[in-house]
């Protein structure tokens, strides 16, 4: 059996940042396990720019952003294994993994950092009626075919869902000579970033139809078209609004799901809203010594925030290994009145630093206020010109503030119009 102080599951932006930070905090024995052929994770196929503005102050493409961390992993001599799939994380922090050169790996870790990322919701999960022909795939799968393999999934495209990957792929397919006929979105607002609607759709004259969905898939072998319809406020198709659109490709950008199979099997508590683990500010889960960060914890819209969150996890894991983690004295956090969730779900009053609470709202608000309450008493109120489900927000709990709280207390964040 091998043994490491920290095993990081996943070598994407989250795993690499966590490993780099843990190393900087003084832990030498670190192993990163990555299932793909290279480090970098999903960033390798995200060739558009817009990454790193917050963190690096420049506009990088996905591979460039990843490369900055790959270089650090290399320079800091952090061990990693690619093409390696983790099969199990046990209750006593043992990690089972497999690859073709080492075979089955059994690794005892003092701390484990979960950074497996997320996957896309597939067609089956939507239960869209119709045939099961070729030509229907998730936007991310299409992105890999186009950007890495150099192949086109189709020429006449409809995109269901206006998540960022869908918007990005609308532009990408257009630049590669395809015709994107429509992007339709079930909700009355887009879950993508506004800038992506402008520069991926508006710039190319691609129509975005809100409150609209694909109600039927046509074609026996290859996709021949889709029927779309307007939906009412309960997201039910409205009779009489159906129309057929001829296309050979339907790309789905209908949501991302954190990949928490390992987490679930380890018996770690999951938050039903985020589908990620329940964590504290150091991103430690309910299993001592197991940390989680990045999209496996909750789906982020900006990789810059993934990096920051992963630094917290890396530092937390390092402190755990070095025995310098503060004693636990928790308050919990809860999103109410328009706030869907908050990460972290609990905060250690002994954290010894300011703590950022990240949250998402359930719909679009204009000119509303974010209100923070401690045990029912308002402690903060911030006016926001715009709040949207697609954009993660945060508030900071100052260390001085935390000092006033008592163990078992509750911090609630809500939106007031």
């Amino acid at each position: 059996m091998l043994s490491y102080d920290i095993v990081v599951v996943g070598g994407g932006p989250a795993g690499m940042a966590a490993a780099v930070k843990a190393k900087e905090c003084g832990v030498d024995s670190i192993l990163v396990l990555e299932r793909a052929e290279t480090l970098g994770g999903i960033l390798e196929q995200c060739i558009h720019t817009g990454f790193g503005l917050h963190y690096f102050g420049e506009e990088l493409s996905g591979p460039e952003y990843a490369d900055r961390f790959i270089q650090q992993v290399t320079e800091k001599n952090i061990e990693y294994k690619i093409d390696t799939m983790v099969l199990e994380v046990t209750a006593d922090n043992k990690v089972y993994a497999v690859n073709s050169s080492d075979g089955l790996l059994e690794i005892q870790a003092k701390a484990v950092i979960l950074a497996m990322g997320c996957r896309e919701r597939p067609r089956g999960a939507l239960n869209t009626p119709g045939t099961r022909c070729a030509g229907v795939m998730t936007a991310g799968t299409a992105q890999k075919y186009v950007n890495i393999d150099g192949y086109m999934p189709g020429k006449k495209v409809v995109i269901l869902g206006s998540g960022d990957i869908g918007l990005i792929m609308a532009r990408r397919m257009t630049l590669e000579g395809a015709e994107v006929k429509l992007v339709c979105e079930l909700m009355p607002y887009s879950s993508g970033l506004t800038r992506n609607i402008v520069q991926c759709l508006d710039d190319y004259g691609i129509p975005l139809e809100l409150s609209c969905t694909v109600i039927r898939i046509h074609g026996n072998e290859r996709l021949e078209g889709v029927t779309v319809a307007k939906v009412d406020e309960n997201r039910r198709p409205i009779k009489g609004t159906e129309r057929f659109i001829e296309c050979d490709t339907l790309l789905l950008s209908v949501g991302l799901i954190p990949e928490n199979e390992l987490t679930r099997e380890a018996g770690i508590e999951l938050d039903p809203v985020t589908s990620g683990a329940v964590v504290d500010e150091s991103r430690e889960t309910t299993q001592p010594g197991v940390f989680a960060c990045g999209n496996v914890l909750h789906v982020h819209d900006l990789v810059d925030y993934v990096t920051l969150e992963s630094y917290s996890a890396g530092e937390g894991a390092a402190k755990y290994v070095l025995g310098t983690a503060p004693a636990k004295k928790y308050i919990s956090t809860k999103g109410v009145g328009g706030v869907r969730y908050i990460v972290p779900q609990k905060v250690n009053l002994n954290a010894g630093e300011d703590v950022k609470l990240y949250f998402r709202v359930g719909r679009v608000y204009k000119g509303a206020s974010v209100v923070v309450k401690y045990n029912g008493y308002e402690i903060m109120r911030r006016k926001k010109p715009r709040l949207a489900p697609g954009e993660m927000e945060n508030v900071v709990l100052k260390e001085s503030e935390l000092a006033k709280f008592a163990e078992g207390g509750l911090v609630e964040i809500s939106v007031e119009e």
Partner: protein, 121 residues
């Protein structure tokens, strides 16, 4: 004349209002939350630009294509032309991040550079 634009300089997506005189002179820029927004709004109203990201064919690489971007912003109206021009470009592996794959594309003065490594097979 008033122009309402959405800033794409960063993922914030600020709504910016630009007041212009009849002669096209910019009188005021409001709604932006940073300097980049101000600059973006001014350019967008006079000479809109965008950056281009796409791929270029690689001969003998581990992947058949390598991703690339315009080192600087290109005139918005030339994006499609540049993307089409890059279809005809083929480079030899190995490619490193930052390698110029196509200099001064379509006479714009902007280089197209690789945004990932592509080692030889």
């Amino acid at each position: 004349m008033t122009k309402n634009i959405i800033c794409v300089a960063c993922p914030m997506g600020c709504g910016i209002t630009v007041e212009m005189s009849d002669s096209g002179e910019i009188l005021s820029v409001t709604g932006n939350t940073c300097k980049r927004g101000d600059a973006y709004a001014r350019t967008e109203c006079t000479n809109p630009v965008r950056s281009l990201t796409t791929t270029v064919k690689v001969d003998g690489g581990v992947h058949p294509v390598v991703p690339c971007k315009s080192a600087d912003a290109l005139p918005k109206g030339k994006i499609i032309d540049c993307a089409n021009a890059l279809r005809e470009v083929e480079v030899k592996a190995p490619v490193k991040i930052g390698d110029v794959l196509c200099a001064d594309i379509l006479g714009t003065g902007v280089d197209i550079v690789a945004t990932n490594h592509c080692p030889e097979v």
